[in-house]
């Protein structure tokens, strides 16, 4: 009896926790559909639902252009991270060269530096390179990630040495070993890095605000932020919520597709680390 009762308590707690996470999200989605006057209530339910907020948003800001920009920037930088960081991780895990551990230590160290600290020097660099108001400024600083390098390195170190020996005898080069042997064996790592990095750069609003002023290359978070704080939204909550909803939609879609691998890799990389 007590076992059953304990289980009941456990489920109640879990459900309560799930609601805490889900409620703001549901509230936001509901808010985009409700009449403006009813948004600021506790209940997500409204008297009627419409797409008015979305229509208004589309008429007021170039949301599709910024959606395109966001996709472009996020995809290119994620692809770069997958290639470059897996190559770095491979070198750190599997190649023998002088200064390997020193390089790894430096990379680890950059993980503890908050982004705000490097913001100004990075901005100055962008100005000197003449990259302000270009896609390059949005993409290039995000083509490397210490987190990704670390994850790849840990994953690659767990691959048995004999497999690499066999591949060398079969005729694979270092690059071949990375892309034809390690990549297929590291799908969970690739997917984790892909999702985490994609989400990170997709949600990034601060850096674009600093290096981009031209509306044509603004990303969505930047656009939405500007839209919310400047007068354009005219303090219409529904509008702002609609913009936010559009912004998170791609992330949710990607996550739903890949969540199986994502969870798997979080579990395994934890064990192997």
């Amino acid at each position: 009896m007590s076992g059953k009762f304990g289980k009941l308590i456990l489920y109640l707690v879990l459900i309560a926790a799930a609601c805490t996470f889900l409620y703001p999200f549901v509230w936001m989605l509901a808010g985009t559909l409700k009449p403006e006057a009813e948004i600021m209530t506790f209940s997500p339910l409204g008297s009627r639902y419409s797409l008015d907020s979305y229509k208004l948003m589309i008429s007021k800001i170039p949301i599709f252009r910024s959606l395109f920009n966001s996709l472009l920037v996020s995809i290119i930088s994620t692809v770069c991270v997958l290639f470059l960081c897996s190559m770095t991780g491979f070198a750190l895990a599997r190649l023998k060269f002088k200064g390997r551990s020193a390089i790894f230590a430096v990379i680890l160290f950059t993980m503890v530096l908050p982004f705000q600290l490097t913001l100004i020097p990075l901005y100055v660099l962008m100005v000197k390179l003449g990259w302000v108001d270009t896609y390059a400024a949005l993409i290039v600083p995000y083509t490397m990630s210490p987190f990704a390098i670390l994850l790849f390195r840990q994953f690659f170190m767990a691959i048995p040495e004999e497999l690499i020996d066999a591949a060398r005898i079969d005729g694979l080069s270092d690059m071949g070993i990375l892309f034809r042997l390690f990549w297929p064996l590291s799908k969970p790592a690739l997917i984790t890095v892909g999702i985490v990095h994609f989400m990170g750069i997709w949600n990034e609003a601060l850096w674009p605000l600093i290096v981009v002023r031209k509306e044509e290359i603004m990303t969505m978070p930047q656009m939405v932020t500007l839209f919310a704080v400047s007068g354009q939204a005219e303090a219409q909550i529904g509008l702002q919520l609609a913009a936010a909803a559009v912004m998170i939609l791609p992330i949710i879609i990607v996550y739903l597709f890949l969540q199986r691998y994502f969870i798997e890799s979080m579990a395994t990389s934890g064990l192997k680390g």
């Binding site: 004999e162 497999l163 020996d165 066999a166 060398r168 005898i169 079969d170 005729g171 694979l172």
Partner: protein, 366 residues
Amino acid sequence: MEYLTGEDMAEVILENVSKIFPGNVEAVKDVSIEILDKEFVVLVGSSGCGKSTTLRMVAGLEEVTSGEIQIDGKVVNDVPPKDRDIAMVFQNYALYPHMSVRQNMAFGLKLRRYDKKEIEQRVQEAAKILELEELLDRKPKALSGGQRQRVAVGRAIVRKPKVFLFDEPLSNLDAKLRNQMRAELALLHRKLESTIIYVTHDQVEAMTLGSKIVVMNKGRIQQVDSPLSIYEKPKNQFVAGFIGSPKMNFVKGEIENGLFKGNQVTCPLTDDQKNQITSTSCMLGIRPEHLRVEDQGIDNGSIKGEVRFVESYGYETFIHINVNDTLLIARSESGNQVKINSSISVGFKPSKAHFFDQNTEQTLTS
């Protein structure tokens, strides 16, 4: 067998090869071996003696610190593994987990740009030889240990390499499967007529598979010989103790007037032995199978002691005899009734005794 038999000559020669790992670990010291075409050479020795390192240097997976390795007359010190025309079978099989059995076997050929038809023919033939036809589309995960081992062998033979390298390929299999695979490997060698270098720490594998055995210890070669010579004429005490199961018995003693005496053991020397042995103190070695209750007599060696315990295998029995606190082992045919703690004396033919120098541990006879 039309697609997989090689026609090239493949001699492998190691000349004064040494390997020093970072941290000054001398894994292999001054090793010279000549391996003839179609020869089955077994490198044997205890764990950590440098067998794998030697093999990996032949494969090109490990750089040679000094010395020279030749394959088929060419010095290959600076040739990468893929261009050495060798194939290797690993202890843990090292199959690519994301590929099917067929893809695993075909991979090396695909990378060498063989045409599809040729690849398929070779894979089919290897699958037939190794009885893998039904399993070609499975992933390694779905195979048993023995099947994985077969695939690993298949991956090597489709390449038709000049030289096959095996690194303890059977040590992950259970005893029964190991015996079976051992027989199959011997058969395969005869079918393929190829040069094989085989590493093991198992002396049974070494004795049964090798046409030539290389015994190694602490990075150095101890003896290179046919299995029989290794057994009958060990060059030093290490080889004598390593080959043979149970281990050879050793007794310290002195020789006086053609008679060895030491620790309750006496042995009259044969004329041959008398002529060759000049020193007086030495180590006598006698294998358990030559220590027999039946072999007692005045012309024979003899040992007196107390029975400590008896191991019976049914077809043979090993008697552990305590002689002044050293244990010696004697073999006897089964059915022999010996009581524990009773005193016993066993004999041996002097011609079966080995004599080693107490300091250098080298044999005193030849």
